[in-house]
Symmetry: C2
Subunit: 234 residues, 2 copies
């Protein structure tokens, strides 16, 4: 959390702009966060969010996507700006403003090996290690925003595979809200929104009977939005 040798400190005569990525994933009923172990000084060996300076010739959004690509191999990930962190002493080494962006990824999609090669690790959201600088604060803020957004936008779907069952969707919302939901009411509510398309397939990995798979229908969602409806789950 702090630099422990003074010689790392340098005179702050230049403004740096960085972006840090808060990467959420959902796996086995748990909401997880991707963090990585710094391999360079300063703060080598400590846990940190994945970030980078924003280059002069790239859009801010692009910088986030680049960081993700470089660290996970994933392209075109759902990503959204969270907030800028700009306390003058937030980084003892540089005068650096960091724009945090959070990403939701389909954890089944990606290559676990690849991520581990980059020194990254998935932590359960309620068992995070101490992160450098203000990164724990960033995660806290991101989780808050995820909760809020999940209430009104269907971003939860970004965390699930394309085909998913209703019990899976419920587990995701339970993980995000960190409370249990009633299965009957949840199903009723989510189906009443008319944005789920029932498929002819079942997922039988969790029960003998099997649960029908659904996929998200963006068109209907757009209609729903235009009709002024609040997409509010749970």
């Amino acid at each position: 959390m702090t630099y422990n040798s003074k010689d790392l400190y340098q005179v702050k005569e230049k403004m740096y702009v960085a972006t840090d990525c808060i990467i959420f994933g959902f796996h086995e009923g748990k909401l997880k966060l991707l963090v990585f172990k710094r391999r360079v000084e300063p703060l080598k060996g400590e846990w940190s969010l994945i970030g980078s300076f924003v280059r002069l010739d790239e859009d801010l959004e692009y910088a986030g996507q680049r960081v993700l690509r470089e660290t996970t191999g994933l392209e075109n990930v759902f990503m959204q700006q969270l907030k800028s962190y700009g306390k003058k002493d937030r980084d003892p080494g540089y005068r650096c403003i960091s724009i945090a962006q959070y990403a939701l990824i389909r954890i089944d999609d990606y290559d676990e090996e690849l991520v581990e090669q980059h020194g990254a690790h998935w932590y359960e959201i309620d068992h995070l290690p101490l992160l450098i600088l203000d990164h724990n604060e960033m995660v806290h803020d991101a989780l808050l925003q995820l909760k809020q957004n999940a209430r009104y936008k269907p971003i939860g779907f970004e965390l699930l595979p394309e085909k998913f069952t209703i019990p899976q969707l419920q587990a995701l919302y339970e993980a995000i809200y960190q409370r249990e939901l009633d299965a009957r009411n949840f199903r009723k509510k989510v189906l009443s929104l008319n944005v789920l398309e029932k498929l002819d397939e079942k997922d039988k990995s969790t029960s003998k009977r099997g649960a029908f798979l659904y996929k998200f229908n963006y068109e209907n969602y757009q209609k729903l939005l235009k009709s002024g409806y609040n997409f509010e789950i749970a």
Copy 2:
């Protein structure tokens, strides 16, 4: 909106960080925005949000407060971060990332003269002029966020004088949501939240009977939040 002479263009070899302020006020039943006419090149004479580069030795939040102080004379204004704007070509002159912050001010408090001296002007929110760069986009985003926030947080109160009547509060919400609300239901709802303190004074400026003045009770609001209640008006 565009630079019209090429010699203004300079090589982008440095990253600048600016902050732009979206300043909302409420006056005579209308939601208003404070904009000002640029007095320096480039884009001299065009309407613009009020902004500044963030200095190396100041917090980002402080930069916003400084800008407000310099342009309106107001201190300790309610201000909240909106979003960072970071397209690589958003400013044709510099490679500049701007962190937009929006402010809510009690329009009766401040000195109209002072503001006018700074070349600023209050525009009604739905009759804005064309602003430079991506400033209209910023305003659009800020208004959206104001609408959302006003639904769950009592930030609306920041726009009113300390003492206000319920009809005034309703007019404010109508201006923010840009739709009419039912007076009986509004009153019922807002009073049921138990965050308004009725005073023994009346405001008689708009009717012979006069309307009772209220003030906002932050303590009760805190309790309300802790009890998990949604502060949802209208």
